[in-house]
């Protein structure tokens, strides 16, 4: 699998492989010898095939800022598990199910009420633990299945948001 990078707005694929003492850059069907050597004043020389260019490289977490030929580019590495995962586009669930058996100790919303993601909808208690059931997305409360003081089993529906 190729590595994926975003430069500016565009996705690029490429891969580095070892060959002899150095590396080869694979882009599409082409394979070009590539090397990076130290140059004066903190700069480096990027050797790509027969050409050499002076570059300044500044890593910043998952980003790398590259200054080359009078222009600056920001290169972002795209994690493949995330990249291919997001394409699956699973629909968000509408129902909050009880993570464990317990009892409702607080209810903060009514049916029909609008909620924003992260807002606490209900607090349940089980095995000495209080767990806040928070809105997992923006939406409207479609149904409240259990009230304060009511007990429930694991997997029981607690609350529902109207389909987005």
């Amino acid at each position: 699998m190729q590595h994926t990078f975003v430069i500016g707005e565009t996705e690029h694929e490429g891969f580095l492989s070892r060959r002899g003492d150095g590396y080869v850059l694979h882009v599409g069907e082409t394979a070009i010898p590539i090397a990076l050597t130290d140059a004066e004043r903190g700069a480096q020389l990027l050797h790509l095939g027969a050409e050499s260019s002076r570059v300044l490289i500044a890593p910043d977490g998952d980003l790398v800022h590259v200054h080359i030929d009078g222009m600056t580019f920001t290169v972002r590495y795209v994690d493949p598990v995330r990249r291919y995962g997001s394409q699956a586009g699973a629909a968000a669930e509408d129902v909050a199910e009880a993570p464990m058996p317990g009892v409702v100790i607080a209810l903060h919303v009514k049916e029909g009420q609008s909620v924003t993601a992260g807002e606490t909808l209900m607090v349940i208690e089980s095995m000495k633990l209080e767990t806040a059931i928070k809105a997992w997305r923006d939406g409207a409360v479609a149904a409240v299945h259990v009230g304060v003081g009511q007990t429930f089993q694991r997997g029981a529906p607690l609350l529902e948001l109207a389909p987005a």
Partner: protein, 535 residues
Amino acid sequence: MRRIESKIDTASEEFRLNWKHNRGLADALKARHHAARRERPARDLERLSRQNKMFVRDRIELLLDPGTPFLELSTLAANTEYGGEVPGAGIVSGIGIVEGREVIIHADDASVKGGAWYPLSVKKIVRTLDIAIENRLPVVHLCDSAGGFLPLQADLFADRYLAGRIFRNQSILSKLGVQQVAIVLGHCTAGGAYIPALSEYSVIVRGTGAIFLGGPPLVKAATGEDVTVDDLGGADVHTRISGTADYPATSEAQAIAIARELVGQTQRPTKLNVERIAPEPPHYDPDELYGVIPRDIKVQFDVRELIARLVDGSRFHEYQPAYGTTLVCGFAHIWGFKVGILGNNGVLFNDSSLKGAHFMQLCNQSRVPMIFLQNITGYMVGRDYEHRGITKDGAKMIMAVSGSEVPKITVICNGSFGAGNYGMAGRAFDPRFLFMWPQSQISVMGAEQAANVLADIKIRQLSREGKSLSPAEIAAIREPILDEYRRQQSAYYSTSHLWDDGILDPTDTRNALAMTISVALNAPIDRPHYGVFRM
């Protein structure tokens, strides 16, 4: 490995209140550490300078390589015992760097009761040497002790893990080829005399250092012989005549210089070959841990928020992310060392227990040290869960954790209740190190639950006799139980009794883990093998 995406809103009121609360607890911990380390009655410090002796902290500073970290262990031992008058149990224990080598230090603190050994002092020295054995750490002993604290002799002398164990552990270390250097800076009386005698090398300071089985008063009483300290067991007696000590020194500083030279000659251990990459700081600031930990121990939070603030780049490869979700398992790096992490995200169910046992086997198979982040109220109770075998699934975790060969390090981050403590590598399961956070609590069940159970028993007893209790009478039963539980489940009580290796400021945890992983790799480990898992 992907970065954990934190869902914590650091601008929220909740975060701010948590931060303030937990930062306050960390500050209180620092103040207590400082008091235990440095604050002494003036007369005790004056006595030391009159005797021409250095304060234990200054000795240790002179011994260590400047600018290197020192991980002190069990600083608050004995803080709830002996009327609070024996800070640190009169012993300093810790891991530091001497001549570029990792060593563990045992130092008697003569500013506390003349360095007398209390029962918890003995426990702390034995633990220090257990750490040396388990992690093949060379030991430097700084000896300056009046001997066992006689009024409590029954609690420190005869049993298996009491004073004799110190000398047994020294002998085992020697047998394993782990070297010890003893510096005799004060008296080594009675049992204490064996510490330099059982060390590979010993240095003794002329004038202040002395080694003898019985001091001059005891000799006088036993045989009537009149003898001075120097003539009985001083530096010249032992380095010229008896051969009990090896090197005479003219000052404490010279003795420490000789000891450094000796440590510098020890063979460097071959570290266990685990994956190591270039370290990277966490993407999320560890300071945010204060805002993540809830103010109320009952409030649930996502352990991934802790992991994100402990591991390199906040990157975490989560194993079985959709199965047994109340136990989060996965791989990460801490200061470049690859580790397997198990962190609680709620009650342990059948599936989370199976996942935990399985993940421990994976870590053993690939020789990855394991980090346990405990926040556990226990295994799920109830008919459904018993029918599904919650007890035998918990037993699988215990079998896996007990049989593990790779080093385990446990941090009790919040609650540690009931059998959850066992399955998650509690003290009894030989983690190489176990630390607690200041707000954490540990007990066989929660205080409320215990008080209710005990009150129920009393009520039923009385109802059989045809009597009933008023609410006030029930409260009178519950309250003392609650108070006692709250006292005994606090991290300070735990650390006072050496149930752990110290309370950590959450923001120091990453560094402490890295140092302890590094020393844990000194010891060779066996191939993975276990007992019988009840299927």
